[in-house]
Amino acid sequence: MPNANTIEKRLQIAAALIILGLLVEAVCLVWARPLAFLIFVGIGMLLMFAGIVFYLISLVAPGAGRSQ
């Protein structure tokens, strides 16, 4: 059963993925090349999507509500 530390760890992983995705998006917006558009969609949005999904999974993971 996950404890509070496990939940926090999951949130931190989700946040790290989202922050990485946001940074990729910011760099792509500055870079402004056709390749940047692809990186924005292919890597930036994928990282953010993974982070959001990881966060949502951590919410419904067994024991998440109780431990918090």
Partner: protein, 224 residues
């Protein structure tokens, strides 16, 4: 990278204020998320849980939507299309000093918005037109990076140019509907409107970009 043309430069324009604000917003969001999750026990309280949802779900989606919208808008710009080396001559062809050159005449006389010139003519004015155009853009990227791109003079459209793209603006226009040449043959206009005779077919508006012969033409210096 900037491509110099006579009296004018096509380059990726400096960042606009909305883009700068968006980048700052994204950076601020990243910092906020980082600070929140670095606090031990941040999600213990009810307020913490709501904040976590806003920061880890709502905010990233908001940033991604705004960023994608900005990127899509930028991908329609003339500078974006011409930022590939292969397109350099096509950009140059927009400055040919000859009204018989279709693309140049449209660009120089602002019959198409100069900032979105490529996209205006080369997008489908049909359902999911923008989506199809972006898919073709991905095909361009594939050809450019993963195969040997053809020489500019050998570049062909994937499919024949559809009159629908011309008629989107010209249909109903007096100069088009009542043009002497267009009405010389009563069957011509219906055939053009039905896409049975191409607007750019031989003998009509056949000279479009003509990049193979750009070394034989004069160039306009651009508006000052």
């Amino acid at each position: 990278m900037r491509f110099a043309f006579p009296g004018f430069q096509f380059g990726l324009s400096p960042m606009t204020l909305p883009t700068i604000l968006l980048i700052l917003f994204i950076a601020f969001s990243a910092i906020l998320i980082g600070l929140f999750v670095s606090r031990p026990g941040a999600t213990v309280t009810r307020g913490g849980k709501i904040t976590a949802f806003l920061l880890l779900f709502f905010l990233p989606i908001l940033c991604a939507t705004m960023g994608l919208s900005s990127e899509l808008e930028r991908s329609k710009s003339t500078a974006f299309c011409l930022s590939c080396h292969t397109m350099e001559l096509f950009g140059r062809s927009l400055y040919v000093d000859d009204p018989g050159h279709l693309a140049a005449a449209h660009f120089q006389n602002h019959r198409v918005p100069p900032d979105n010139a490529c996209y205006t003519c080369h997008s489908d004015y049909a359902m999911f037109g923008t989506f199809k155009t972006k898919l073709r853009g991905l095909q361009h990227v594939y050809v450019y990076y993963l195969t040997k791109p053809p020489a500019p003079e050998n570049i062909k459209l994937y499919t024949p140019f559809n009159n629908r793209e011309c008629l989107h603006c010209h249909a109903g226009a007096r100069s088009f509907e009542e043009g002497a040449v267009h009405n010389a043959d009563p069957d011509l206009l219906p055939a053009v409107k039905a896409n049975k005779i191409s607007c750019i077919s031989s003998g009509c508006h056949e000279v479009v970009h003509n990049v193979a012969q750009l070394n034989q033409v004069k160039f306009w210096n651009g508006a000052h």
